[in-house]
């Protein structure tokens, strides 16, 4: 997008890259895959901006599609917050938008279910998976490991376009006459399996499943590329123990995706067979309108096992990229090395391993063997250990740092705050005995919106504000960023803290209205308050959207390394062309966190500066390498 404004710069970069594109890079010794990609400088705009194989363009495509989806997902949540805050109010004024879903001034209850389902699906998959890790894994992995592009630019392009196709199908399902899928983002059968059960289980569910199959394909194509790039295409000297924590996080996130998305595929496939081919994997003993269905012998709990085997790693797929970016931004803006670099990697690995053995904590109320439940409870609570390590390290990184409160830094600190607030209630919900009480109440909603929903969004915002100069060669406006941050930060807490109370009081999730229950009427004001806060917080996001698009074209021009950061992406030209470095790829000599090193003239030493040039600050063992 902004590349248009910096076109001469970009094509110059490509031309030089074409000349030296075959410079000795250790990893291409037996590869000819990349050479021809640096040759074509006079590309048609269609190949340059639309069907591009450049990881930076693909990253931006993911980001802008993600922003589009976030607006849709946020709008849906505002609609159902209107219903929850003012259950007696009239929705007549929304008829021009919602059409027949408003009946006699009331929101259609079936459509309410569709709203929460689509809000969950869109936010979890399309925004926080594709929009977050899709954007930053694509944009940052080759730049930070020192590669010209992804291992396979073509597969990377396919990854985006499968996501685009999946997005189209999901988007059109919003406009079906019977409405989009409505059985919750977890699409539990039998509700989701029987088209005659609710209107949303008809065509809407079919399109949901088809869309998700394409989404899974997109994630797999992207994920294998990310992992291969990290394994194979690191520049000289970039050992795994010199990788920025962002890359470690993206790497492990991609591995989680490769291992867990195929399981969702299996679940979706069997569900498709149950819906359309008369099998009974998940269906048994069902009566609809007095009629017995022929399906016998299926097990709906089996679907939950398959779904949550993906579903649990999925929440780490959402949060880990945010963790990695926050680690990077905190260290850069505190002008201090990240505290406990190896412990940070270890805790990411620990979280990744644990994420595969805790799925049944979503299923404590399915009547599972209590002993099995206690095993899953034990494993779940262990996650507090690596999470605690991370939080401790972030706080210790901030401790006595020379903190620069950039917008990205504020969002990173906000991330840590939300992660703590939401994580603590995870310890409550991880206990089977407490979970049986809290299950499916607003306490759960509050928990996961804080710990992985809002915090992942904060990670996304932090990443956009921080790497915007690298993406578009311009800066985002700091003042607008501050307003955006404070409204969002206050908004998130004002929305989700009260939800804990109404959750403990027993409010169930996904209910259209509680006006039928006297015991809940005392919380009517609280619900109204939450709705007001939610709508204000959502409205505040338009400040960000304005800032983002305005700054692409009109933002203050960036310098090459505006944050005085140490990682490799800031050694590229202001707006790097395809191939990233016009000349040879820089080699790496040191870890990425040499901030405020005692004895050094500057308060940061980039990774590509050899020890021989920093005699004054070298530690004894580093001096040995330099001598």
């Amino acid at each position: 997008m902004s590349d248009m404004s910096a076109k001469p710069n970009l094509s110059a970069g490509v031309q030089t890259a074409g000349g030296v594109g075959t410079a000795p890079v250790s990893h291409t010794e037996h590869g000819d895959a990349h050479h021809d990609e640096h040759e074509h400088h006079d590309q048609h705009w269609l190949w340059k901006y639309v069907f591009s194989q450049d990881h930076k363009v693909i990253g931006k495509q993911f980001l802008i599609t993600g922003i589009f989806w976030a607006i849709i997902g946020g709008t849906l949540s505002s609609l159902f917050r209107l219903q929850l805050g003012w259950p007696e109010g009239t929705m007549e004024w929304l008829t021009p938008v919602l059409g027949k879903w408003v009946e006699g001034g009331k929101l259609n209850p079936e459509f309410y279910l569709a709203l929460v389902t689509m809000h969950g699906t869109i936010m979890v998959f399309f925004v926080l998976t594709a929009g977050l890790s899709g954007t930053f894994s694509n944009f940052l992995i080759p730049l930070q490991v020192g590669a010209r592009d992804m291992a396979s630019g073509f597969m990377n392009m396919l990854s985006y376009w499968f996501f685009f196709l999946s997005s189209l199908i999901m988007f059109f399902s919003l406009f079906l006459e019977t409405g989009p899928a409505a059985s919750g983002w977890t699409i539990y059968p039998p509700l989701s399996a029987l088209p005659q059960a609710i209107p949303g289980s008809g065509m809407g569910m079919t399109m949901w499943l088809v869309s998700m199959v394409f989404f899974i394909v997109s994630q797999l194509l992207g994920g294998v590329n990310y992992v291969t790039t990290v394994i194979n295409l690191r520049t000289r000297g970039m050992s795994m123990s010199k990788l920025p924590l962002t890359i470690w996080a993206f790497f492990l996130t991609a591995i989680l995706g490769i291992l867990s998305f195929p399981v969702l595929f299996s679940a979706a496939l069997l569900l498709v067979f149950d819906r359309s081919f008369g099998t009974s994997f998940f269906l048994s003993d069902i009566y609809i309108a007095g009629q017995a269905l022929p399906n016998q012998g299926g097990s709906p709990v089996l679907f939950q096992h398959l779904f949550w085997f993906l579903g649990h790693p999925e929440v780490y797929i959402v949060i880990m990229p945010a963790m990695g970016m926050v680690s990077e931004i905190l260290a850069t803006n505190a002008r201090k090395p990240i505290f406990g670099y190896r412990a940070m990697i270890g805790s990411l690995i620990g979280i990744s391993l644990l994420s595969f053995v805790v799925w049944a904590h979503h299923m404590f109320v399915t009547g599972m063997n209590p002993f099995l439940g206690s095993v899953f409870m034990f494993l779940t609570l262990i996650i507090a250990v690596p999470s605690g390590v991370k939080v401790f390290n972030w706080l210790a990184t901030l401790w006595r740092g020379n903190i620069r409160f950039t917008t990205a830094m504020l969002f990173s600190i906000g991330f840590v705050s939300l992660f703590i607030s939401g994580g603590l209630t995870g310890i409550i919900l991880g206990n089977a005995t407490l979970d049986i009480q809290m299950h499916n109440t607003y306490f759960v909603v509050a928990h996961f919106h804080l710990v992985m929903g809002s915090s992942a969004f904060f990670g996304l915002f932090a990443g956009v504000y921080h790497w915007f100069p690298k993406m578009f060669g311009r800066m985002m406006d700091e003042k607008l960023g501050y307003i955006h941050f404070w409204l969002t930060f206050a908004g998130v807490y004002l929305v989700f803290l009260p939800m804990h109370y109404i959750g403990i009081a027993g409010f169930p999730r996904r209910y259209y209205a509680w006006t039928g229950f006297d015991s809940f009427s005392q919380f009517a004001d609280m619900n109204k308050f939450i709705s007001v806060a939610a709508i204000i917080a959502f409205a505040a996001q338009f400040i960000f959207i304005f800032n983002f698009f305005y700054s692409i074209f009109r933002g203050r021009r960036a310098t090459q390394n505006p944050w005085n950061s140490t990682t490799l992406e800031w050694t590229t030209p202001l707006v790097p062309g395809h191939g990233n470095w016009p000349g040879e790829i820089p080699a790496v000599y040191r870890w990425p966190y040499d901030y405020s090193k005692p004895g050094s003239e500057t308060d940061f030493i980039p990774q590509n500066v050899p020890y021989s040039q920093t005699q004054s600050s070298n530690l004894p063992y580093e001096q040995e390498l330099a001598d």
């Binding site: 250790s26 990893h27 037996h30 590869g31 895959a33 291992a151 396979s152 597969m155 797999l220 994920g223 294998v224 590329n225 992992v227 291969t228 790039t229 394994i231 194979n232 295409l233 690191r234 000289r236 000297g237 970039m238 050992s239 490769i258 291992l259 867990s260 998305f261 195929p262 399981v263 595929f265 299996s266 679940a267 496939l269 069997l270 067979f273 081919f277 008369g278 099998t279 009974s280 994997f281 048994s284 022929p294 016998q296 012998g297 299926g298 097990s299 089996l302 096992h305 398959l306 085997f309 080699a587 000599y589 050899p610 020890y611 021989s612 040039q613 390498l625 330099a626 001598d627």
Partner: protein, 195 residues
């Protein structure tokens, strides 16, 4: 820069070509599909209402066919190493042929299952039978991808793009094909031992 300052010369990337790493990662994700389906099979079986049936004998023949195809491909690969291009072509063609025979055999196997009143869906179906169709179908779908890959390699061989210094494509094809063969062997033994 001080010329003595050297890198810790760790070989980046396990020494494998990126395309091979991509292929192996995709195979890992395929493995997860079958791992989830077969664990679903076991979990579901333990809940009862599970109709047992005998596997058609043609399944054993198919297993032998796919094993032979792997041997033929390995022969083609070692011929490519020795630059005996004629044998590479024959080996690849045999592998392709046996792969097609295997697919036809699986189709006939489905016919035998239906003849034995084991159905995929409908009123008379039981989940045990549905699972067998899903496992075989998913495997066949993967095998189609393998066949396309083999056909591409065969075409490359005719274009003199496969020889002792260009073993990547045929190497990757044989990794994939052996994986698909091993996958079928696993599924066959799994079904054999769990019925």
């Amino acid at each position: 820069m001080n010329p003595i300052e050297t890198f810790s010369e760790k070989e980046v990337g396990l020494g494998w070509h990126p395309k091979r790493v991509l292929l192996i990662l995709l195979m890992v994700s395929s493995t997860m599909i079958f791992a989830s389906l077969t664990s679903g099979f076991i979990v579901r079986r333990d809940e009862g209402n599970w109709r047992e049936f005998d596997l058609p004998t043609i399944m054993l023949l198919n297993t032998i066919v796919i094993a032979l195809s792997s041997i033929a491909l390995q022969w083609a690969y070692s011929s490519a190493k020795k630059d005996e291009i004629g044998r590479v072509k024959i080996g690849l063609a045999i592998t392709l042929g046996l792969g097609l025979v295997f697919l036809v055999g699986q189709w006939l196997c489905w016919g035998d299952l239906v003849a034995g009143r084991t159905f995929f869906g409908g009123i008379d179906a039981n989940v045990s039978g549905s699972f067998v169709y899903v496992l075989m179908g998913m495997h066949a779908f993967h095998l189609l991808a393998g066949l396309i890959f083999l056909a591409v390699v065969l075409r490359r061989t005719f274009n003199y793009q496969v020889h002792s210094r260009a073993l990547l494509s045929i190497g990757n094809a044989s990794i994939l094909w052996h994986f698909l063969g091993a996958l079928w062997l696993y599924l066959y033994l799994f079904l054999l031992l769990n019925h």
